[in-house]
């Protein structure tokens, strides 16, 4: 049932795309792989869960709350862990990012424990609908719909708004952007806020999809989304969207073809393949050294 698998793949892939966007935008602007991005996604899932179970928010409000929380979290992480290292070597910032990542997942382990937690059944009524012979759950529709909406909004911000244009200018040429009167530090904060909020939405959606929120969920999802960003071409926003979707579909198809025990390996096999064959990814440009 090809259509069925395709839709399953797109739903899963949308969540990868949402996370991958944060990797690619941050890389585009400061050439840093933000290793803590997966943990921001995890934090988003926990905040969403908290808002639904404790404060009885509906999923949409919970998602909005998680997005705002992670926006602030992303900005603060950049401020304290990356900005002081801006002029140091890339490696220092990368090590700092790995440190933040370990710190956050350990903190989550201490606060929430090792067991995965699920959303209550009432959080979102899941029903199956038949479309063209394929069984689709309302949850999958929610995931695809919300992701599409967020990505459209992102595309609008980046292409049409003043701050979005400044973001593109800064990612092309940091110093020249400053010569335009652009406060590049503010643009970098804004980029972290955008990327982190998308990851938070992804966290809530993934939490619902697998009905599991756990301290280490950021690791695997983060690595896969990173692979998606590389597949699409790191630094390219449309690339991250495409890479996420392709990876989701590939994973679901692989499982459907009987390789379910290799489920998590599929993304990494693709990552290695891309790095060997076309390191700039599908939509990426030549990798330029930034000054």
């Amino acid at each position: 049932m090809l259509l069925q698998q395709l839709i399953n793949g797109i739903a899963l892939g949308s969540t990868y795309a949402l996370i991958a966007l944060g990797y690619t935008m941050v890389y585009g602007i400061i050439t840093l792989i933000n290793f803590a991005h997966g943990e921001i996604f995890m934090a988003g899932a926990f905040v969403g869960l908290f808002l639904v179970t404790v404060l009885k928010f509906n999923v949409f409000l919970a998602m909005a709350g998680a997005m705002i929380f992670c926006m602030i979290m992303g900005v603060v992480i950049e401020l304290i862990a990356y900005r002081p290292l801006r002029k140091s070597s890339r490696l220092s910032a990368l090590i700092s990012a790995i440190g933040v990542s370990i710190f956050l997942s350990t903190l989550a382990l201490m606060v929430f424990g090792a067991d995965a937690k699920g959303f209550p059944d009432t959080a979102f009524p899941v029903q199956q609908v038949k479309i063209l012979g394929a069984e689709i759950s309302t949850l999958q529709l929610l995931i695809i719909g919300v992701s599409a909406l967020l990505m459209l909004a992102l595309e609008f911000i980046v292409q049409k708004t003043k701050i979005g244009k400044a973001m593109r200018a800064t990612s092309e040429d940091y110093n020249t952007a400053a010569l335009m009167g652009i406060n590049v530090n503010r643009i970098i904060s804004f980029t972290f806020a955008l990327g982190s909020s998308l990851a938070a939405a992804g966290g809530v959606l993934v939490g619902l999809l697998f009905n599991a929120v756990s301290f280490n969920m950021g690791l695997m999802a983060g690595l896969k989304a990173f692979s998606a960003a590389v597949l699409g071409g790191i630094g390219s926003i449309p690339g991250a969207m495409l890479g996420g979707l392709l990876l989701g579909v590939a994973e679901v198809m692989g499982v459907a073809a009987g390789y379910s025990s290799y489920r998590d390996a599929i993304a990494f096999a693709i990552l290695v393949l891309v790095l060997l064959v076309k390191p700039t990814g599908l939509l990426g440009q030549k990798i330029q050294k930034k000054v």
Partner: protein, 234 residues
Amino acid sequence: MLIVENLSVNYKAIKALVNLSCRVEQGEIVALIGANGAGKTTTLNSISGIVPASAGRVVFEGEEITKTLPHLIVKKGISQVPEGRRVFAKMSVLENLEMGAYIRSDTKGIAQEMERIFHLFPRLAERKKQLAKTLSGGEQQMLAMGRALMSQPRLLLLDEPSMGLAPMLVEKIFEIIQEINKTGTTIMLVEQNAHMALSIANRAYVLETGQVVLEGEAKELAENPEVRKAYLGE
């Protein structure tokens, strides 16, 4: 208008500027000439706040700006056309100009400014929607200049506007620089093309290994035998 006092800049172990002093008066065109690596770009970037000074100070309209951040220096009225144009290649001509007007929010004024720039560079008007990377070298230079003018600077820093352009185009660009100056913008011009630079400048400084070795009226420098030998190819 601009006073640079005993400015020193180091890139790690390299001393790029050593105790450099110069000044620019309101309404002038001041040229900075010198060989490759003399420190011309470094001087402009230090004024713009892109590279930090290790000693000395920069004063603009009576206010010290030595440690001011680059984007705030633009707000104070200094704009730079960087060496090698550095247009935003993946953005359209229009978007490049919008970036030049980043510090402004008066929509009407920005639109008027853009009209003025299209009047100055009709080529840009024809290519509004094109990506900057599809422009020729000369058109990119025009775009970089137009972009810098969008913020209505009182002082315009130009870094080698003639670089890589055909002689005809160089003349055209220099005419436009004079035109910009006549409408009230003070100009600091860095050039390797000393001949052209001295022909339009009021005063000039000659730089060698990060130091000013000669300064004076542009006309006098153009007559100076040393300058003629070293920079005018005689």
